[in-house]
């Protein structure tokens, strides 16, 4: 649908962020094409979470610009960035624990249907919203658990719900923050398959430690070390990159 002349789905231009005297990110440049699946890897403390928090609007960058489909979103509040078409998941599961699984998803679907603050209709009678919520649950494999309280789900189910909620608002650019963190090998493979299917046709930016997930899922990888991007390339070339090996992969891959 989008010709190659279109602006990148996500562009970071000289983005810096400092907390007091500490420079967490320094002059970061990154272009992500529409439909690309892009991973950010890097050692702990490299600034991956800060990067996600800047893009999704939790913090404003100290300098530089962030553009979504060619429109600047730097410094906007999270709900505005979400409405502009970017959704994110969280490293630490961030769901509505005391609501049912179905209702967790429906909150996001309601936002997409622009009935955010509807006060004069019964939500039970909104057929389109309820059907779409059920469809999202089906896509992440949680349909049988629709009436369970989200807090009662198993860990990997909660991670699936986390991804499902990220999909609900209809965003075209998806940020996933360590979607397979804390999962067993088997669960990780399932999660990677889930991510592949649900983000088909969308732009994906993910922080991921598991190199097998990165290799199987992503078109390009950026290596973030000490707040700067050391290299951006295909997974194969990144793993062959000597500087990357020294800085990061040599220590962590086994």
């Amino acid at each position: 649908m989008s010709p190659t002349t279109n602006p990148p789905a996500l562009r970071l231009a000289a983005v810096s962020k400092s907390f007091g005297p500490i420079d967490v990110l320094q002059k970061l440049d990154l272009d992500i094409a529409p439909g690309e699946r892009h991973a950010v890897i890097g050692p702990n403390g490299a600034g991956k979470s800060t990067l996600f928090n800047l893009i999704s609007g939790l913090f404003a960058p100290s300098s530089g610009d962030i553009a979504l489909n060619g429109r600047s979103i730097a410094g906007l509040s999270p709900h505005r960035i979400n409405r502009a078409g970017l959704a994110r998941s969280f490293q630490i599961t961030n769901i509505f624990h005391r609501l049912s699984v179905f209702e967790n998803v429906r909150i996001g679907v309601l936002a997409r249907h622009r009935v955010r603050y509807g006060l004069f209709r019964s939500v039970a009678h909104m057929r389109a919203v309820n059907e779409e919520s059920a469809a999202v649950l089906a896509r992440v494999g949680l349909e049988p658990r629709a009436d369970t309280l989200a807090g009662d789900l198993t860990y990997s189910e909660q991670r699936a719900l986390e991804i499902g909620m990220t999909l609900t608002t209809g965003a075209e650019v998806i940020l996933l923050d360590e979607p397979t963190a804390g999962m067993s090998r088997e669960e990780t493979a399932q999660a990677a398959e889930l991510i592949r299917s649900v983000t088909a046709g969308k732009t994906l930016l993910m922080v991921e430690h598991d190199m097998s997930v990165v290799f199987s899922l992503c078109d390009r990888v950026s290596v973030l070390v000490y707040g700067s991007i050391l290299a951006t390339d295909t997974p194969e070339r990144i793993s062959a990159n000597r500087a990357v090996q020294e800085a990061y992969l040599g220590e962590e891959t086994s």
């Binding site: 999704s56 509040s77 999270p78 709900h79 979400n82 409405r83 959704a87 994110r88 969280f90 961030n94 769901i95 509505f96 624990h97 005391r98 609501l99 049912s100 179905f102 209702e103 429906r106 909150i107 996001g108 309601l110 936002a111 997409r112 009935v115 955010r116 603050y117 509807g118 006060l119 004069f120 209709r121 019964s122 939500v123 039970a124 909104m126 919203v129 629709a146 009436d147 309280l149 807090g151 909620m165 609900t168 608002t169």
Partner: protein
């Protein structure tokens, strides 16, 4: 439980509320008016505290503002303004809503403890300002007015006031219940659980919280205006901390996780003060004690317990539970008896009257009268009785609870979250 059965139950309750009051005396009618007002106030408060997870310690502000707004309108009606008396609470609703928008805008910038403190500060501000603003709040004396007749209804008798109050409380209660079923009502619960995620799903969380706050303040304002209509007067003491505290106690004793829980608490406490405050000056102490005990042993409140019982009624083995339950209730009653005995004895022995009698008796301990019986302060029976009540009652209660736990398979009680406000409607 089917929703038909709930509707039938509510219909019976409503029929009783309509049919019984004409046969009651004036003081009971007045007490029921207060029960209805407190119920609406607690429901309004719980919209914020229980559903949005925003614990306000200053809800007296919006209750009071509603009362004053209604009184000002009543004064205008007295002076000839053509406004139907039954619609007076609209003034309270409007004033409460506006005050809620302004106060809520600032209070909801923060959450948790800071939110609570800002709401407390706003109410305290009104409480200390009101006596100095003679024009608006009538100084320390407050302002008064009269209910004017409308369309042949005189509004002179307490019964007429009662039906007016009943109508408004039913209307607002139903409205607040319907609210929980709307998209915004579901969003309110999501805000309670995880405000950050709400923000990242594309909602302006702050704006949503301001609206919830304003709706809660609006319903509180209606409750306040109903009190103003009933009393025909109001003064700055409506803004006092204990008004704010009462609604917190009532809501949490009644159960903030169940929609109608606050009504239970409001009814219980209002009737408690109506029935007990004439009998003993320690009633506030008992009220506090009930609150502490409920929070310690049944944090979901009375409504939460009832909800769990109804929900699990088929799984529970009633034939085996009945006896331990009876035993626990008996133990609890004995324990309560012991506590009341000790409290009232202390009230007598450390009271001013007794101090004077002691100085008259040159420091000796003269006998005293309590519960219509004479007691010796140093008598064996005087202290053996409470000891037996406390130990016996406590023992029965502990043993009964242990048996109940045994029957229920020592499963830890399901958490509060299983309540209907959390589930799918």
């Amino acid at each position: 439980m089917g929703s038909m059965r709930i509707l039938a139950l509510l219909a019976v309750l409503l029929a009783l509320l309509i049919a019984v009051p004409p046969f009651l005396d004036l003081s009971w009618q007045n007490a029921l008016v207060n029960v209805l007002i407190a119920s609406l106030f607690a429901l309004a408060f719980n919209l914020l505290a229980g559903q949005a997870g925003l614990l306000s310690f200053g809800h007296a502000a919006y209750f009071g503002i509603g009362a004053f707004a209604a009184l000002h309108l009543m004064i205008a009606v007295e002076d000839g303004l053509a406004f139907p008396t039954p619609l007076l609470p609209l003034a309270g609703a409007a004033a409460g809503f506006l005050a809620g928008l302004v106060a809520g805008y600032f209070a909801t910038m923060r959450s948790g403890v800071y939110f609570a403190l800002v709401t407390l500060a706003i109410a305290e501000l009104l409480h200390s300002l009101a006596p100095h603003l003679a024009g608006t709040f009538g100084g320390e004396a407050g302002i008064s007015s009269m209910r004017m007749p409308w369309q042949g209804i005189v509004f002179g008798s307490m019964l007429e006031v009662y039906y007016l109050t009943l109508g408004w409380v039913m209307l607002c209660g139903l409205g607040l219940w319907a609210y929980t079923r709307t998209p915004f009502g579901r969003l309110t619960l999501a805000l309670r659980d995880n405000e950050q995620r709400v923000l990242f799903l594309g909602y302006d969380a702050h704006r949503a919280k301001v609206v919830v706050f304003a709706i809660s303040a609006m319903a509180s304002g209606v409750a306040g205006s109903l009190l103003a209509i009933s009393n025909e007067t109001a003064n700055y003491s409506l803004f006092a901390t204990d008004v704010s505290a009462q609604v917190v106690l009532q809501t949490f004793v009644g159960g903030s996780t169940v929609f109608f829980g606050p009504v239970i608490g409001a009814t219980l406490f209002t009737l408690f003060s109506f029935l007990i405050s004439d009998l003993t000056r320690s009633w506030v102490f008992y009220q506090g004690l009930i609150f502490v005990l409920v929070m310690l042993f049944a944090p979901t409140g009375i409504g939460g317990i009832l909800y769990e019982l109804v929900r699990h009624r088929r799984q529970l083995d009633w034939s085996r539970l009945a006896w331990p339950a009876l035993q626990s209730i008996l133990g609890g009653l004995l324990l309560a008896g012991g506590i009341v005995y000790l409290t009232e004895t202390a009230a007598v022995l450390f009271g001013q009257d007794y101090a004077m009698r002691r100085s008259g008796a040159a420091g000796a301990l003269p006998p005293y009268e309590l519960f219509g019986i004479g007691w010796e302060p140093a008598g064996v029976l005087t202290w053996l009785l409470p000891a037996v009540l406390l130990l016996g009652g406590g023992g029965l209660l502990v043993a009964g609870r242990r048996q109940i736990d045994g029957v229920r398979g020592r499963r830890s009680a399901p958490a509060a979250d299983a309540a209907p406000l959390g589930g799918t409607p």
